[in-house]
Point group: C2
Chain length 225, copies 2
DNA sequence: GGGTAATTCCTGCATTTGCATGATGCGGCA
DNA sequence: TGCCGCATCATGCAAATGCAGGAATTACCC
């Protein structure tokens, strides 16, 4: 296998140079000249097409995340690892949405980082499982989900379809049209599901449904109990 | 380092026995007697306290996920890897919410699984990054988010507060009360934000807001552009 | 067959909502 | 100082919505 071209970006010169030196000791890694800022990152990336970029989050959201944007434009195949001092969940989410595949706390050792680099280069991904669990728990809004799902379980298939339409932001008549039934029918279904969910408006119903994990563009596939 | 105690659970006897035989070849793995169902899993887990449990998803949602629940009660420190034939995202989400730290497609080779077992035993986690990216993209509702956030950015602070209340399922008068203003004011704010978001009903507004990442119980903290 | 549940349709009525429009006060900015 | 954006309040009206009923058809289970 060819060497993996690694580009490190960090504005802490001392840290980044030591890290580069450490990575150079690995025979399968080809450490590119380090970059200290976004401009450097993009320049080196353009010239050397790194396989893996190790990016420091302390560059700040503007530069750190903005850089990602431009980097993925420039080299779509480059795989990005974030090296981070914080546990900020929202940053993690943004990073991953922008295409990052790795998230490594600075607290880990160099050998761990090297492992992650190799994993990532081979197409894998790495995010600490504890963080991931927290993240998913937060994104799926935690434990109320069970309660919400329970209430949703009592709905008829048709009612669930109507609810899904509501979640997508459709009005009464649009729902009726979408399901090919009369407006009155859609109305009845709506009323029935409102009663079953024990809510008093479509707004509440939507709020509840989304807490339960229902999303627009998502096929209705609530697991039956 | 001590051996890692591994418990394999799968109702396909042939498969599980071959897998156990393969894992036994690894000197650092202590393969416990395999289990074929939930009862066996819990029995062995109770007696031998495995470090890692490799669980087959084909046991079905009821047994597969239900088992997780009881397993984590029984041995909180046990780390769980799912071995799965499907790519079903909702199962993945549920599994992780229940504490799973690994998700391995059955299509991979044994050496890969062994690597994952070691990673997981050391406190790491493993989920294919492609899946993870898909998952997060779906949970955060993907690329429309940027568009939705952009529209949300034009809102006033007050309007955002009103919108947040709407997302929580509050009605007009409740919003007014919650924000300490007149119902008419809440009404005006609602109208203004509907206009700014270019939607024609509260339902659509909520749908849009949630696509943008706004969630109930979440403090209003939309990043400003 | 009888009971139960789901789906479909309908009506009437009070309230809410979406929409248009206007007005006041406050703070920043040129 | 005048202008502009924001927040605050208000009113009128047509349409939609929540709520309370009734009713017919189909399907499934005991």
């Amino acid at each position: 296998m060819n060497q993996t071209r690694v580009l490190i970006v960090d504005d802490h010169r001392l840290f980044v140079e030591m890290l580069a030196a450490r990575l150079t000791m690995e025979p399968d890694l080809d450490v590119l000249p380090v970059a200290h800022d976004v401009a450097g990152l993009l320049a080196v990336a353009k010239a050397r097409r790194p396989d893996v970029v190790v990016l420091d989050m302390t560059l700040g959201p503007a530069s750190g995340l903005g850089a990602l944007d431009r980097l993925t434009e420039l080299c779509p195949d480059t795989r990005i690892i974030f090296l981070t001092a914080s546990d900020d969940m929202t940053l993690l989410v943004q990073a991953i949405r922008l295409g990052a595949v790795g998230w490594v706390p600075k607290s880990v050792g160099a050998d761990r980082l090297i492992k992650v680099i190799r994993t990532v280069a081979q197409g894998g991904g790495f995010i600490p499982s504890r963080l991931l669990a927290d993240l998913l728990r937060r994104l799926t809004s935690g434990d109320e989900v069970a309660e919400a799902e329970h209430r949703l379980a009592s709905l008829t298939q048709r009612e669930r379809q109507v609810l899904t339409c509501m979640v997508e932001g459709l009005g009464r008549s649009e729902i009726a049209q979408h399901l090919g039934v009369s407006v009155n029918t859609a109305r009845t279904h709506t009323q029935n599901l409102l009663a079953k969910l024990d809510v008093h408006s479509g707004l509440e119903a939507i709020s509840l449904a989304m807490r339960a994990g229902l999303r627009p563009t998502m096929a209705v596939s609530v697991p039956h109990a």
